[in-house]
Each structure stands twice: as structure tokens, then as C-alpha cells.
């Protein structure tokens, strides 16, 4: 039967657990929402993306082979469209952020000691480099070539745009965390400690909850 597909997929978890396709899809959708809501670029999830792409390709192959069952065909096609929408929206929002913060991200990338901590996937890193160099070349050809000698330098440091980590975001608490410290960097000494109860929703700055987000205790909504 053309519908029998491998449900268990080797998703790479830290524990090496196999994840079912629906779990991968769930995680991908969460990553999509987080990426949309976050002011900075989040860690890349290229394993989830690749896994879903595989699934879609496999499913499309199966569908090509079975032409008769019109009704099942349409349903699977709809589902493929839905998954493709999430994937392309996710990748598109990442590309937008890469273009915006290109120089900043490349600096961070070169200072990285461990490959695993990289926020950009290898293809994204290559894209960022190409984009940055195309931008510089463009400015050179357009303007800098034609201005007097002493103004011709291209200052990378001034070009780099840093993401605003003090942006306010909405978040939902998945794991209860007592005593979260919200530092008040306006220096008025209004540091606050909040107890995060499971299931509650908050609006606060991104910076204090950045680590909780990475550990999975909260999620952006």
C-alpha cells in the first residue's frame, strides 16, 4: 500500500531517541513560532527541517505512484501544502534576520569555539558570508570608488546591526520555575523576582528569559 510509510524517524535528540514524524512536525511548528516572535536569531533546527523535507518528498513520491484514489490524494496534498507553508515561512523569517544582522552574526560565528553552539546552519553561514561580501562590493562600486581617498574605508563595525534583546515578548510557561530574576537595567534598582507558574502567560523583556527559552522552560506565543 502506498500509504505505509516509516513512521519512526531517527531525529537527532541529545539522547539519540527516535522521534515520530508528528513529533518532528510539532517541534518544527514550535520553532517556527519562536523564530517569528523572537527579536534575535534562534539556534538553527536544520535536523527538523531536513527531516520534514524528507517526509514531504517521500509522501510526494508515494502520491505520484497511486493515481486512482482521488480523495486520499487530495488530503495528502493538502497536508503537504500545510507543512510546506510552515517550512518556507520558518526559513524565510530566518533569512530576513540573517540579512538584517549579517555582520553581527558573522562576527559571532568567527568567535565560536564549538561547532554545536552555532546559531547558523552551514548553508546559512555561507549565505551570510556571500550576502555581506555582495553588500560591500555593491557599496564599493556604487559610491566608495567615486569618493575622495580618505573616505574610502568600509567600517565593518559600524555596519553591524545588533538585535534588540530588550524587546518585549509574550511568553507561556511550560515548566514551573520559581524565582526568575528580572534585572532592571535602567539602574533604578527595581530588580524583581517572579515565580513562573506552569501554564501562565507573561509579557516581558526578551533578555531575562533568554536562557529559559533555550532550556525549554518557556515558549514564545
Amino acid at each position: 500500500m502506498s500509504d505505509n510509510e516509516e513512521d519512526i524517524i531517527e531525529g537527532s535528540d541529545e539522547e539519540g531517541e527516535a522521534m515520530t514524524a508528528s513529533e518532528v512536525l510539532q517541534k518544527l511548528e514550535e520553532a517556527w513560532i519562536t523564530e517569528r516572535m523572537s527579536p534575535t536569531l534562534e539556534k538553527h533546527q536544520s535536523e527538523l527541517v531536513d527531516c520534514m523535507l524528507d517526509q514531504i518528498n517521500q509522501m510526494s513520491e508515494n502520491l505520484k505512484r497511486c493515481k486512482k484514489y482521488d480523495f486520499r490524494l487530495a488530503i495528502h496534498k493538502m497536508e503537504i501544502d500545510r507543512i510546506r507553508y510552515v517550512l518556507s515561512s520558518y526559513l524565510r523569517v530566518r533569512l530576513e534576520k540573517i540579512e538584517r544582522f549579517a555582520h553581527h552574526l558573522l562576527e559571532k560565528q568567527t568567535n565560536l569555539s564549538n561547532e554545536d553552539l552555532s546559531i547558523l546552519s552551514p548553508q546559512e553561514a555561507a549565505y551570510a558570508k556571500d550576502y555581506a561580501s555582495s553588500l560591500e562590493a555593491h557599496f564599493q562600486n556604487l559610491v566608495l570608488q567615486h569618493v575622495p581617498e580618505n573616505l574610502r574605508t568600509f567600517d565593518r563595525g559600524k555596519m553591524s546591526v545588533k538585535p534588540n534583546l530588550d524587546s518585549y515578548v509574550f511568553l507561556k510557561v511550560k515548566q514551573a520555575t520559581p524565582g526568575v530574576l528580572l534585572e532592571d537595567d535602567t539602574g533604578e534598582g527595581r530588580d524583581e523576582e517572579v515565580d513562573f507558574k506552569e501554564g501562565s502567560q507573561y509579557l516581558m523583556r526578551y533578555k531575562p528569559i533568554m536562557e529559559l527559552l533555550q532550556s525549554g522552560a518557556v515558549t514564545l506565543i
Binding site: D7, E29, R36, I75, E79, T186, Q201, M204
Partner: protein, 188 residues
Amino acid sequence: MDSIEIEFLAEKAPVTIVPNFTHDKLYLISGDVGPFTAGLPVEVPLWLGINLRQRGKCRLVAPEWMDVEKLTEKKEEEKQSKVFTQMPCEHYLIVTQLLLSSAPEDIPNAQQIKTLVKDIWDLRISKLRSSVAEFIESEGTHATLDRLTLLEINSVRPFLPHAFDQLHRLSKSAHGSNLSQTTQDIQY
């Protein structure tokens, strides 16, 4: 986020349908659905249910909470309470709109339900608006929004986070300039 994207997320919610055909299990990527037996109810994702209904292959069953009495009670509760009450379904407005637009005949008292849900929505949004105004005036640094649904939160985006960003920037620079004034005083 656009409301269309929240609709996309809401379409994953499960809904019960009664198919008029028989078919075995469908192995979708997002999970298995079925098997379908004509006349027996089965749970499917909302997007699938709506599509099947549009092709005339099934009948939709109203979710348990979509009942005139229950909704009237909820509306009263919402009116009496100063804070937000827990909604029976995270995407109550979207599910109602989608179900009623594709199959109003399948849902009993469709018109009343529409009005009730709209009233509940209006009540909650006006509560949200007044609490936002209060909150900005009180200059808090973070807000608790329990029991608010995604679509309601989205109605104040991007205004609310933006406003807080600006307030934060202003207070930061106000403090910053105080510091630099002090150093200037010492220097001169």
C-alpha cells in the same frame, strides 16, 4: 503574527465528524486519522473536517462547549468577573467561525451561538483594552496574561510590545543621562 496564521494554528484542533463513507486509516504525517465508518463519529483535525464537509462527505458535530446554555453561562461568568475566565477552547472564535461558515445546518441554534460567541469576544477585548491602559500608566515592567487566548493577545500586537520597548528605552536613557550629568559635574 497575522490572524490568518493563528487560524492556521487553530485548524489543527480536533473536531468530531460523522462520515458518510467507509475507508480505512489515513496515515497522515501529522498523525493517523480514522478508520472511517459511515455513520460512526470519528475525530479529525479541523482543516480535514472542513474540507470533507465542503465535498459533502461528512457531517460536522458541534464541539461539546458549543451549546447555547453553556455559552450563556460563560458569558455571564465573563461579565461578572473582573479578570479573564478560562475559555473552553483556546481558539473558540476561529473554530466557531469556521464551523458556522461551512456547515451552519449541522450546528443547532447556529445564529444564537454566533451572537453569544461574538458577545464573549467583545467583553474580553474591552477588558483587555482597559487593562492595557491601566498597565501602561502604572509603569510596570512585566505583565501577567493568564487565560488570554492567542487571538486576543494578537489583537494588541504590535502596539503593546512596541509601546513597552519605547518606554523602556526612554527610562534607560533618562537614567543614562543622569549618570553623565554627574560625571560632567565632577569634571567641571
